[in-house]
Symmetry: none
Subunit: 227 residues, 4 copies
Amino acid sequence: MEECGPDATPPDVADKTPRTERGRRTQRAILDAAAAEFGEHGFHEASISGITRRAGVALGSFYTWFDSKDAVFRALVSDMSARVRDHVAPAIRAAPDQIAAERAGLLEFLAFARAHKEIYRIIDESEFVDPDSFRRHYATTAERIEARLRRGAKRGEVIAEVGEVHAWAIMGMNVFLGLRYGVWSTEEDAAGIADTIAAMLARGIGVQESGRGATDKRHPGLEPGSR
Amino acid sequence: MEECGPDATPPDVADKTPRTERGRRTQRAILDAAAAEFGEHGFHEASISGITRRAGVALGSFYTWFDSKDAVFRALVSDMSARVRDHVAPAIRAAPDQIAAERAGLLEFLAFARAHKEIYRIIDESEFVDPDSFRRHYATTAERIEARLRRGAKRGEVIAEVGEVHAWAIMGMNVFLGLRYGVWSTEEDAAGIADTIAAMLARGIGVQESGRGATDKRHPGLEPGSR
Amino acid sequence: MEECGPDATPPDVADKTPRTERGRRTQRAILDAAAAEFGEHGFHEASISGITRRAGVALGSFYTWFDSKDAVFRALVSDMSARVRDHVAPAIRAAPDQIAAERAGLLEFLAFARAHKEIYRIIDESEFVDPDSFRRHYATTAERIEARLRRGAKRGEVIAEVGEVHAWAIMGMNVFLGLRYGVWSTEEDAAGIADTIAAMLARGIGVQESGRGATDKRHPGLEPGSR
Amino acid sequence: MEECGPDATPPDVADKTPRTERGRRTQRAILDAAAAEFGEHGFHEASISGITRRAGVALGSFYTWFDSKDAVFRALVSDMSARVRDHVAPAIRAAPDQIAAERAGLLEFLAFARAHKEIYRIIDESEFVDPDSFRRHYATTAERIEARLRRGAKRGEVIAEVGEVHAWAIMGMNVFLGLRYGVWSTEEDAAGIADTIAAMLARGIGVQESGRGATDKRHPGLEPGSR
DNA sequence: AATGAATGAGAGTTCATTCAT
DNA sequence: TATGAATGAACTCTCATTCAT
C-alpha cells in the first residue's frame, strides 16, 4: 500500500489507465485539482470546468481520465482514506502499547487534519455523494481500531471486554476532535489534547496495576489540565 | 421550547409568519414534507417540487412560506436540533449523577436516531449547505455537555480536569455510535451499548472511591461484555 | 379519432397534461414547431433550442411539456401517423370496391406527402430514433390494408389468396411512389400514377370476369401509358 | 466490379489510397468494422472510437484512411449498394423471362437482407446522413428495373405500358418485403413470398396468352396461398 | 503508418425562482 | 393565499477531429 501515497495514482482508476507518461501526469494533475476544488467548494458547488482550469488542461481532458464527476470523487475518497491511514500507521506501529497507540493515532490524525483540511469536506461529504465509500472508510477504520484493541487485550494492556463499541467510540472521538481542533481552530496544543484523551482511555479501558489507583503510571505525564 | 415539537412551527421562520390558521397548516405541511424529502434524497438531490408534491400543495405555494431552498433547510436544521435536545433533556435531568446522565444521554440519542434516521442526512449535510447551522448545532451540544461535566466535577462526581476536550470526545462517541447502532443497524441492544460506554466513562473520568480499583461501584451492572 | 387532427393534442403526451388553456396552447405550439424543426433538419441536427425559438417560448418551457427530445419525436410520429391515416381514410371508405379503394389510398397519400414533405423525415427517421414507433406505424398500416383486402376477397372483388404479403407489397409501392412523386418531384400527374397502379392491381389481384382477358372492364380508363 | 466484394477496397475511397499491403489491410479492416458499428448503432450513435476498437487499431489511425465520419459512411453506402446489386444480378440474368427475373430479384434480395441485416440501417439512414447517396442508390436501382421491364416489353413478355412508375412500385414492394421478411422475421418461406408476388406481377403486367385467363401458365407453381 | 492524448464547441437537461391569474 | 406555467442560467458529458510522438 506504500504506492498509494499522495503522488501515486490510486488503483481504482484502473479503468482508464494511462499508457504513456504524459497521460499519467495529466491524470494525477486532475486528481489533485479535484481535491482542491472539492475541498474549497464541496462536491455540488464544485464544477468540472473548475477542476480542469486548476489542472491547466482542457475541459474534455477530464473525461479522458475519469468517467464522471462522481467517479473522481470516489477515487478521491479512497485516495484520501488511504492517505490518512498511511499517515497515522507508522506512529501507531511504533507505540509501545495499546493506549500509547491510540494516543499516537489521535495525535497524528490531528496533524493530518491540520495539514489537509479538505479531508472533512471530502470524506464527510461522501455520505451524501457516494454512501458506499463513506461506509467503507469508517467501517475499515473501525475494524482496524477494534483489531488493535483486541490485540492489546490479549497482551493484557487493555481490559478483555473491548470490542466494536469501543472502536466506534474511539473513532467518533477522534473524528470530532479532529474537526474541532484540527479544522475549526488550530491554536490548541495537540499533544495536550492527546494526553487528555489517552489518560481517559488509560483509566477507562486500560488494565490498572493493583493498588495504584486509577492512574496508569506507565503513562507518565498523562494528567494534564482540562485544556 | 415546548412549542418546538414536531407539530409546531419553529420561531425562526418568523419572516413569513402565517396570519391565518390555514396558512399555519400549509407552512407546517411544507416543513414536514421537507424533512422527509431531504431525509430521503439529501439536500442537493431533493427538489422543491418534490417537497410540494409530498405536502400536497402547488409549487408556487412554497415561496409563500419560505424564501428559498436554503431557508427551509436552515429552519429544518434548527428544528431537528431542538428536537433531539428536547428528546434527551428529561432523561439527563432525571439522572442521579453525571455518569448516569451521560449514559442516559447516549441511550436516548440512540432511540431518537432509530426513530428519526433523517437526522444524519439533515444535520450532517448542513456542514455543506449551511455551515453556520452545523457549527451552531455541535457547538451548542458540546457546551451543554461541558457545562454538565463541570457541574459534575463541582459535585465530586467526575474528576476536576474535565473540560471542552472531554465534551467533544463524548459528543463524537455519541454521534458515531448513533450512526452505527441507530442508523446503519438497529439489532444491537441499546442498553448494553450505553452500559459499555458508561463503564468506560466511569473509570475514565469518574471519581474512584479509594481502594476500590477501577470499577465505580456506584454504577452496578455496568460491566457488560464487549458486545 | 377525429380529435387527433393537426390542431388537437395527441393522447400520448398525457403524462404532462396541461391544466390550463394557456398550457394547452404552449404544448401545441411546441409540437408544431418540433414538426417543422425535425422536418427541416432531421432528428439529430435539430435542437431543442431551435424548437423553442420557433415556438416563441423559453428553452425551459420545452421541458414543462415534454420529457425529452425523444419524447417529442415519439409524440410527433404518432401524431403524423394518425394524420396520414385520417387524411386517406374517407376516400378509402367512399370507394365502391377494393381496387378503387387502393387507388384512392395511393392518390390521397401522394397528396398528403406533397403537402407534408416532413412526413418522410419524421416517420422514416423513427426507424433510427424510436424503432418501436416505426414498427408500430408500418405494422398498423399493413394490418389495415390486409383487412381491407380480406374484406374485398369475401365480397369477391379480389382473389381469395390475398394476405399479409400483398399488404406489405402494396404499402411498399405506396411509400416509394410517395417518395418519388410526392417528395422528390411533384410535376407528375398523380391521378395517372394512381391509374397505372390500380390497373396493375386490378389484373394482378382483382377477380377477372371470364372471357374478358386481363383487363378488368369495371375499371375503365385504367390503361394509361407508361408515364 | 468483381473486386468490389466484401474483401476488396471499393474504388471511391481513392482519396487516401494505401500504398502498402499493410495499409490496404488496415483500411479494409476499418471499413468492415464501420459496417458492423453503423449496422448495430446507426450513424449517429456509432462512434469513431467504436469503429477503431472493432477494427483493432488506434483511434488516430482512422483519419489516416478516411477523411471523416461522413466519408466512411458514404464509402459504405456505395459499397453496400454495389454488393446487393452484385448479389442479385446473376440470378436476374439467368432468368428465362422478365417475370421470372423479378421473382429471382426478390428472392435473392430477401436472401441478401437476411444475411446482411445492416443494409437497412446503412442505406435507409443515408437518407438523413448523405441524401445524395440515398438518391443515387434508389435512382440507380429503379433505372435498372425500368430498363429490364422495357426490354421485357420489347420481347413481348410484359405489357407495353411499363415504365418508371412500375419500376418504383416493384422496388418499393421489394424493399418493404425485405424489411418485413428479411429483417423483422425470417421464419417465413422466401420462395413462397416470391411466388406470391411473381403471380401478382404475371397477371398484373405480364402478357396473357389469349383464352388462358389471368394466370400465366408459363409460370407454373406460381399460385401459392396467401402465405 | 500508427498511436493515443488533447481539444473544445455544443448539446440536452435540471430546477430554483418569478409571475400572472 | 394558492396555483401552475414560464423562465434561463448553469452544468455535465460527448465525441469528431487534431496533434505530437
